[in-house]
Symmetry: D4
Subunit: 248 residues, 8 copies
């Protein structure tokens, strides 16, 4: 039959791969165990909307698999309850992140710079940092270098111009992403934050600024999505480093 696509065999193979992916259904959650196998992604729990009990139960199942575990946006009370069951877990209060590092990887050769416009953007930057680090990346935090005082940014130019990729975290008008984007030749992951007031509309102003960046090397993640930025930057850095080491 001529209407049947040639690549059919490929489909079967691909689907077969999908089908055999391990996951585990614990009633209220389907735990996905194949992510870590594939690309070093930790097992991740997004806490809001889940009860403390659900979070602990999912965390335990993930921990049993032996890999690293990350729970984002966890309130202190959640960690307090969880640490009684899993005492090795660690809490980073600024990032509101719980981590369990069971597999230490060699730290990455290149550090990922994480640049913030203001001090108030630190919690989001911190989430990106924790995320990248639990995935084996070195990071370098460059804080409070917003565009109203460009000279503060210039002190860090050498560092940011040598990076494989950059994370820029900014609220209010979010202009830092464009300025940094114009100064470097690597991909810039921009994270708008909900810092600001009035017409910042909880981060919408910064989000729009970044989406409309006249620097074409900028791509954007959700408002306050430090986690996503950490993942995207890690994936880029990992691929480059494994290419360098010929492991790819």
């Amino acid at each position: 039959m001529e209407q049947v696509k040639n690549g059919k065999l490929g489909v079967a193979d691909a689907v077969e791969k999908l089908r055999q992916l391990p996951f585990e259904d614990i009633g209220f959650a389907c735990i996905d165990h194949h992510r870590q196998l594939r690309c070093g992604l930790p097992e991740v729990i997004f806490c809001p909307g889940k009860t403390t009990e659900q979070i602990i139960q999912i965390f335990q199942r993930l921990a049993e698999r032996g890999g690293n575990v990350l729970a984002t946006r966890a309130e202190p009370a959640v960690f307090e309850a969880l640490s009684k069951k899993i005492p090795q877990a660690h809490y980073e209060p600024l990032a509101r992140a719980i981590t369990l590092e069971q597999k230490k990887s060699e730290p990455s050769k290149h550090a990922i710079p994480i640049i913030t416009a203001g001090t108030a953007d630190l919690p989001v930057a911190s989430e990106a940092k924790v995320t990248a680090e639990i995935m084996g990346q070195r990071t370098e935090l460059i804080s409070d270098v917003g565009v109203a005082g460009l000279h503060r940014l210039f002190g860090h130019l050498p560092k940011i111009q040598n990076a494989n990729c950059l994370i820029v975290v900014a609220g209010m008008e979010g202009a830092l992403a464009s300025v940094v984007g114009g100064l470097v030749s690597c991909p810039v992951i921009a994270v708008p934050t909900s810092i600001g007031y009035g017409a910042s509309f909880n981060g919408v102003a910064a989000l729009l600024t970044m989406l409309n960046s006249c620097a074409a090397n900028v791509s954007v993640v959700n408002i306050d999505a430090g986690f996503s930025a950490g993942v995207v930057a890690t994936l880029i850095n990992q691929k480059i480093e494994s290419a360098e080491s010929g492991l790819k």
Copy 2:
């Protein structure tokens, strides 16, 4: 009576001033003849929503008073019709502005820099320029120095750091206003433009960026409002120059 405010006499005086302001009712328009007397503002016609006939008729009445006249957002066809009646009128196509200069004033001592992020912002910048010039200001257009290539802006630093006030015109992400605001110590009038696409939302992104500017010396006018920016900058420059010359 103790409830009556002391300043009453002042009220009477002020109201008296208001009452005696000359205006002229020509049926569809109330022409306001006192603005020019007061502060050198030209008589101004905002063309959209008016018929060509209405525009010409208002323009003629204003012209008869002997002052300068400015019509903004005038389509070429409007000018063509109008120039048959008022041959001395001039058309600036980029700004879509018709001007009639009947009273030449001494050009201002300080020039007002008008800075654009991109070439596409020129029409709005041009409206600001025409407006300031018909009010007697010298202007200096600095074009296409957007934040994705900061070095282009730096060539103009001396000029912009000596100005009494600045106009910054930018679309897309509008970050130029914040960057310029951080480099100078004078008031910056920011004009968002509708240049851009997608999430620029016809200038909303640039507007929000400018309103949320982390540089506190930035104030903002409406999207594409080159005219307003020209007026505000002129008023500031005029007041400083008349203070300098002791005329105030």
Copy 3:
């Protein structure tokens, strides 16, 4: 080379200036010490999103430089903690502003009128007032003269018609800025406030009103941005006064 721009030398100079600007990196914040030198701007801390500890630490560093310090949007608890370390600091509860005045400047000759539409707009007006005053300006608060009772505004006409520039603070429909703008020939800095309910959308209605003002001498700052309005008005008034005194 003909492609090389003439102004190059100027670039070098300007960049040199930027490069030598003093700042201080204390880990979570890059403190910018050159603003006050340049134009009398106080050192300013925007408190939201910063921990009390961070605020105190930044405040102390700024205070050590000997200039005036302003912390905006500071909750009473922040002041309470801070005043133990810096007993000379002063708190203005309505404005939620902490000030430390270490350098008294001669009060400005012209007062800046700050006009509010309603009593509920006072906190924002108060922030503008505190900001302008710590920068050496005299201010005059004209409160509760919204457009639903125009006669209340008329009592103040003489004062507002003699000002170098005006601040108008209004929530709800924000129409006061246009009305005042039509009565004066100086720049009007309009501050929309989040006062109102329903379709005021936390100040968006007032913001849009002001941006669309048919009075062309109105420029706008962010919703509730009393601080920005205070800065812009101060810069205008300062420039005019130094021109008058020939100090410019």
Copy 4:
């Protein structure tokens, strides 16, 4: 049964009235013949989205009933085609309204003032005027008295302070409704128009201004809804006049 409401008889009567209302189904439209009987409302056709043929056919059916007919937002081409079939129909180009007056009523004793902020608001004001007039009202158009030049409005104060109700038509920032509302003690029907640009968002700015009016006697109709304003004002004026003449 005790759960059955007492007012039942009233329901039956009311429903009976509804049931007997005459209407006529011509396939694509259900023509409603009872409105005119009830309160002097003309038969009305809202033209957008209807084909010229549909408009003519509905207009003819309505005309056959002998009352007055009004078609709003009719393009000139529609009128041209319609006037061949119904030569007595009249077209008001500014309002884009077609009228057929078959029943002349005594003109109302009180005129309804229709006040516009600018010349560009005239088409919407005109629709309100045509609507009120075909319903037997006298109107008085007061044009171009926007808040940037309050003295133009003051010339009309006696007229507007004696009205039974007022229509205020304004685009851009729409502040005129609040100012007028504060000067009178009758209901004000505010009509925002789509006149403006940039952050006027096709009338949204004016709409929000009017909804948030600090003058409590203001109620609002849809953007550009001259027709609705004309109807509401007519109903108020009619009721007062019939009370005066004891006909009610």
Copy 5:
């Protein structure tokens, strides 16, 4: 001079009237004493954004004038404090309104029906009711007759079809205003409420529904603005009744 408008004398008179309006400046508030004289409007305080002390102080000044006073959106704690100073004041908890009735007027002949779509709309309806009543109107509350069960509305048809004007209060989809508007021939004042969830956007859905009503006798006030609806309805009813009694 031919440019001077004829109506000038009228201007002087009108301005004279404005000028002599009594008001009282107590620092943070300009109290407007002429409203009650003119049209029976009570003195009104909108509480949000004012401190308890400010509210009490304004309330006392207003009370001293001898007329009726109304404070809207007053929290119970405000009333508790106020009632110690003014024991005759009354609190309506559902409406969150404080009233002081010092001048009893004859209740109106016609009652104003206030119709709600659901039980949750009662607080807003209650504010309208309190407002109308302190201005001397009789009201009739018809509750919970939303469009999902039309038969509940039909029981009240006789009452609503005889009214001079109607208030319709509805949240969620706000369709009740259109349905009622289609059943009556008097003006309908529609009040959207913030009742609902999800895509009701705190009353925006109901607001848009009402603004787009296909019933042309509907005009709209702000979301939750029971007070405005009460004022507009009162003004209409008052004018009709005074016409009836020949007092106008």
Copy 6:
């Protein structure tokens, strides 16, 4: 009369039916007793905006009629108070629903699958489940099978491909509805949830995704409207099952 529609008799009959529908006016609420008679809908109370006292009183009246009663979005404290009066009432905390099952119906033959993208969507899914079950439906909850791990969904394909209709509950980007819609040939009721952060805008992102679904068998209810989804799915399933059993 030829203009009178033929179907008139039908109108009379229909109106007669409407007129005789039982309802009960208890002052603040009009209780509608005919819904359950008609189609098995339980009596339902939407709790937000009602006082606990009002909820209990309405619940009691409904319970007296002998059918099933459902109260949605009831806080635990409401249930606590209510259960003292009606001890047989049951509370489902996840769904925040109170149920009183007085009439047990035969469970439906076909189960309605309720599919959630994530664990945090369970409360909304739970409301749909409780709603469908009190109306006699069997349901099957398939949880946490979002599109970022499609293999988790594939394990449930047989179940979902045999259903009469499906409910899909998803927050964040809401893509699950489109994916499921493409895999089945029955109607899919999509429920966006307010789960997410930043640019999810409390469910708006998921709502828009679902409304724009490229799968044409998807229709959408309000954000978090588990109740509506439960009702629509029940009505579809009921009609099919009664057709199967020839009862229709």
Copy 7:
């Protein structure tokens, strides 16, 4: 392995089904041939954004398979070009739909009522009608029965109360869906249309009204999505009718 889910076999089967679905890649489009096999859905082309040549080529491929073909939102010029290649194709101008009926199915026993609020909603209603009909459904169009004249709707009550499901098409305020939803006990598919002006925001007002419907049997499709409504209603009606005939 205990982590492996039981339903695995089902997965394999389901995936196998997916894998074998016929589709055809013609470079710019992947034509999906399995939809019709599954549930009688016609092959459908959404025309906007496709060139006339692409549309014709896809249409021809679909036609060769022998089933019915539907192209929605096709401009007349597209049909003109297409009909030269496929002369049996039919064009419904109001719906802008091209149909090719190659397989006549028995018309459905129950008609699907399609109810419009106004004449201007007919194009969208027409798209729903064409869609349902090419899928074998009988439809009944009930036009122009909007809520401002409820008596027009009542004439059709018997028809709409006997339907298996209903489509309601309405623009402007979209209230018809709630009113109809309250009168029937079957699922109502609501289609908001972009008919209206001003604050209708091209259908957003109607969309929000329908999403917030207080009638719980209403679900909603995209603005102007007559096609989706036709599909959803068809699926419901088909399932009920095949249950009735025991074919399911």
Copy 8:
């Protein structure tokens, strides 16, 4: 001085680099010649808002430098005029892109897959393709594999799972980005397109979907920003390939 930062020397160096960047001021545009030198970025012109004359003039200056030139969003008429001056320029009509390839680079080893949800997304995908190709990348276009027919996507799984990074282009609900993101372990650049109607709001729905993607490896560019996606993907692929070849 202890307040002076250590990294100062680095600042000087970095600033020096900035200062020496070549650019060329041709009056209306500042042409930036250093981008290509740095990272292989072509010289790029964004055409909207520029006159044909401006575009040609900028294009010629860029071409004289000998590198590759790209003009995006160029209307056919622009190309027609330009090709008379620069006959070697090439036009890609679907992408509306003009290219001038003067420097052929070795094509990249890895192809960048560009995946579209529908045929109508091809213009945007095409812009991404042209952009990546002029920067030396091989691309692979996978078209029309939207989520309503997942089996079409599965045929391409092997290709997309081996890529270094992916571009996903989708309008309407934009769900494809999340689905693809969940199937791969490389960065996904998501491009929302303005394809759709109604509540797609010209691409906003797809934009929000992608920003809220539950797949954390997705980052987003502006609506219709094929160019930005092409740049970001190229930068990632280039860095990986130069790492592989040890050239970095």
